[in-house]
Point group: C2
Chain length 121, copies 2
């Protein structure tokens, strides 16, 4: 397997839909994904996976049951397994995710936003 | 456990030595670390762990046996387990690492650069 560097901004240029994470790397049974968020996602939880959200550009809010987190570019948060969370972004935000290969984007919820087979870009 | 956002630049301000990764997050038995690099590290490999290097600021080179990778801010690379690599940075570079909790910074090499007990910041 060839070892290649990945430029996040160049990869982001290939994404033109919201809430559709794309796989940009894999290591130790974890995936690195990037996505563009705009608007509201669904409140959900992952029973078995912790999930990291890192903001590349823009502003991301993550609503929890007891508070709302605000993340700006250069900031990340780890949402532990079992914790309900709802990402939302008033304006477009570019995000990097780090989570196990088994993680489904909508966690315990199945709806129109659910994606079970992510593209690699 | 309280869920907190982490600002990478603010954390980096607390680091004033080179080649001393600090733990800034843990998820799914993986650690998120940040470090400042300047100068040359040692050629080494990790037998069992893939390792991700993401450049936050500056320029990082990673020498492999058959080529040298150049990474600028906003770029990452995954070095698969078993692959020899030697990071170097002509000027100060700030880097985020993702790797399993078991990963030793100098891999199969033990020398003055080896750190077995990393701080959390």
């Amino acid at each position: 397997m060839e070892i290649r560097t990945v430029n996040l901004n160049r990869k982001l240029n290939n994404i033109n839909t919201y809430w559709t994470p794309k796989i940009v790397g894999e290591l130790n049974n974890q995936l690195v994904k990037i996505a563009k968020f705009k608007g509201e996602f669904v409140m959900h939880r992952h029973e078995h996976e912790d999930e990291l959200f890192y903001v590349i550009e823009g502003k991301l809010f993550i609503e929890l049951n007891d508070k709302t987190l605000e993340l700006n570019a250069g900031e990340f948060v780890i949402i532990p397994k079992g914790i309900e969370h709802k990402p939302y972004a008033p304006e477009e935000a570019s995000v990097m995710l780090f989570e196990p290969t088994t993680t489904l984007n909508t966690g315990n919820v199945q709806n129109d936003l659910t994606l079970s087979d992510l593209d690699k870009i």
